[in-house]
């Protein structure tokens, strides 16, 4: 079978079932990404503040923030008065 280069995913898609959890994970990430970016539109926030606004556990907020930072959506701002928590903001 000749498979067109650049479209090989179609070939595997016929052979391989995508687990629900994988699709779920993608939806989940997309949703949380939107939620966090929406919340950050209101202003710079710390992990705790984002957690309160979104209801996500703090450690999850940190994970998503750092991932968003890695892919260029979010950046780290200043630190609070106690030198304890950083503020995060949408990357210009």
């Amino acid at each position: 079978m000749e498979i067109e280069k650049g479209k090989t995913y179609k070939y595997l898609k016929e052979k391989r079932e995508i687990p629900e959890s994988v699709k779920e994970n993608l939806k989940n990430y997309t949703r949380i990404k939107r939620t966090i970016l929406d919340v950050l539109k209101e202003g710079d926030m710390t992990v705790g503040q984002i957690s309160e606004k979104t209801g996500l556990p703090r450690h999850d907020v940190l994970y998503y923030l750092m991932t968003l930072a890695k892919y260029g959506f979010v950046q780290t701002g200043g630190i609070d008065d106690m030198d304890e928590y950083f503020y995060y903001k949408i990357k210009a």
Binding site: V22, N25, L26, T30, Y63, M66, T67
Partner: protein, 433 residues
């Protein structure tokens, strides 16, 4: 892949592309022997390539590892299979082994990938990044880490939605979902096992709360936070992103402990904890770092001086092993221990706790040989059958061990042991000729 390539011959098979396996392969190749290096992971460099700085010289680990790794990967006499596993090794004759090797599909044609990361940008899927211990996410199409070797993308097929975005983005058309596992039958004269070690799983000690308490992490996780390619770009506690200022090290987590079946000392934890403490004092000048220990084992060249230096910098050393860890509402942790010096039980509050997890054997060690049995020691490390005169020798003639596959070792000792293994392998081949 052509048929003839699936059946190849080399002088040596080195299992494990960590620093020991790499050094052994390089030693042999530099003396004119052909080597096949098999690495299970997507990149060679083992654990060392992920470390921050290394004791006692505090030189940056990546800076030492990457030149070595590129020397290995460029060497004309070394063939490297990453993402590959040895399924079994069969002795054919006195001087010949046949190894059955499987190379798992990467879904990327390695030779064509330029490491441009466009596929990574295109991929919509984010999953936890195993190279950063889940502190951040990565894509399903990804380059394992920025200093990976080969610096080539891979598709995490388990998490891929097969949307095709990466394939559309790839300028060299190197993504290939039709890839399948390839099997090789390789004939070699000698085998060097350099499968390394595993870190103790702290979930086995529930009273330390690892997994339950987000601010209890392992030293390897801290190592990532301190490395130049770190996940948070600074040191933060994973529970809520706070900049920690009272850190505690729990030494002998999973070492010198019969209750979890590992009575031996892991040999490296004292030193890497002292090293991290020094780095933390540099990164967080206001922070207090306390190391809870039974005995400090700073035995190697320059180690005692390094320990003294840490004391001089203000790292707090407390003699007494941590017994219990409990969490407060604000995520801080209460550590209960006996201060042996003061002869009393005490409790201390810290905002980040680092478990100095010990060295345990890699379960792969035993599984390679079909018609020979590889003798293991009581802790499932590979038994050195002539430890004093030929430390790399194993119970199978022609099979040698390098690095931590034979027991806990620090980096300099691993490299020396790799030197010993390659030396014995070479003299074995030459004297058998």
């Amino acid at each position: 892949m052509t048929e003839e390539k699936k059946k190849a011959s080399y002088d040596a098979l080195v299992i494990g592309g960590g620093i020991a396996g790499g050094e052994a392969a390089l030693n042999m190749a530099n003396n004119g022997f052909t080597v096949l290096l098999i690495e299970k992971d997507l990149s060679i460099g083992g654990k060392m390539i992920h470390l921050s700085k290394v004791f006692p010289t505090l030189d940056c680990s990546a800076c030492i590892t990457t030149p070595k790794v590129s020397e290995i990967s460029r060497h004309p006499l070394i063939t490297i299979y990453t993402g590959s596993e040895v399924r079994n090794i069969n002795r054919l004759s006195d001087t010949l082994f046949e190894a059955d090797i499987i190379k798992h599909p990467r879904y990327v044609t390695e030779e064509d990938c330029t490491g441009c990361q466009l596929c990574e940008q295109a991929c919509p899927v984010v999953v936890s990044d195993q190279y950063q211990f889940g502190f951040v996410g990565r894509k399903a199409a990804y380059i394992p880490f920025s200093i990976a070797s080969p610096r080539v993308a891979a598709i995490d097929i388990e998490n891929c939605t097969l949307c095709g975005a990466c394939e559309k983005a790839c300028p060299t058309k190197c993504i290939d979902f039709t890839q399948q596992s390839i099997e090789y039958l390789v004939r070699v004269k000698t085998v060097i096992i350099a499968t390394g070690f595993n870190l103790f799983d702290p979930l086995k000690i529930p009273r330390f709360g690892y997994g339950r308490y987000k601010n209890v992490i392992t030293a390897m996780e801290m190592e990532r936070q301190l490395a130049p390619t770190r996940p948070f770009n600074t040191v933060l506690r994973p529970g809520d992103g706070k900049v920690p200022d009272r850190l505690a090290y729990v030494l002998c987590t999973g070492s010198r402990d019969v209750t979890i079946g590992n009575p031996i000392c892991s040999q490296i934890c004292c030193m890497y904890s002292i090293k991290q403490a020094q780095l933390l004092m540099g990164a967080l000048p206001m922070a207090d770092v306390t190391i809870y220990y039974i005995n400090i084992r700073s035995f190697g060249k320059g180690f005692e001086e390094f320990y003294d230096q840490a004391k001089g910098m203000g790292v707090n050393f407390v003699k007494g092993k941590i017994g219990l860890i409990s969490e407060k509402e604000n995520g801080n942790l209460i550590l209960r221990y006996e201060d042996v010096n003061a002869n009393t039980v005490k409790e201390a509050e810290h905002d980040l706790v680092i478990l100095a997890t010990g060295v345990v054997s890699n379960p792969d060690n035993a599984s390679f040989f079909t018609n020979n049995s590889l003798k293991l020691d009581p802790f499932s490390f590979i038994c050195q059958t002539d430890m004093l005169a030929s430390p790399a020798r194993t119970s199978i003639e022609g099979v040698f061990v390098a690095g931590t596959a034979s027991g806990p070792m620090d980096i300099p000792d691993s490299i020396l042991s790799a030197g010993a293994a390659s030396s014995e392998a070479m003299s074995y081949i030459i004297s058998k000729q």
